[in-house]
Symmetry: C2
Subunit: 86 residues, 2 copies
């Protein structure tokens, strides 16, 4: 089963990378650029996994243990079935 994990900075946490991207875009002449935030997209394949509930639990555990820093980051898990619809 394929899944995507989005790791983003919590609201209120300063995002220098996002700010730098925003300034660079404006400098390149793009108009109307507001807030820019950069995060991580992690695509994971769990071959052989079938049960969405246990996969979601496992992925959330991966986020808490390794993929996201709970102090400053939020995470969101999206399973393959949701990816097809988006």
């Amino acid at each position: 089963m394929k899944a995507r994990i989005f790791v983003t900075l919590k609201d209120g946490v300063l995002d220098p990378q996002g700010k730098a991207i925003g300034h660079a875009l404006t400098g390149l002449g793009f108009a109307g650029v507001g807030d820019v935030r950069q995060g991580k997209l992690i695509e994971i394949d769990l071959p052989g996994a079938k049960d969405e509930t246990s996969v979601r639990t496992q992925l959330e555990e991966m986020c808490r243990k390794l993929l996201a820093n709970p102090v400053i980051e939020d995470f969101k898990v999206e399973l393959a079935s949701q990816i097809q619809s988006s």
Copy 2:
């Protein structure tokens, strides 16, 4: 208008970060971890923008000019209306 941009390495391009994450997850005892790929998630707010077609064109131009390296990266633009449905 809010939008999300996903920048991912092209298939076939080696992803050492993804490999490192995969090994770390296995080392933490997570079973069944297959391929792991890490990319960038960029959330952009274009306040005042209304027309989805021109916003999409502008965002794709941003990707070609700055946000994605066309040699090794792919990008995908997702507008707010799609984010709500995912």
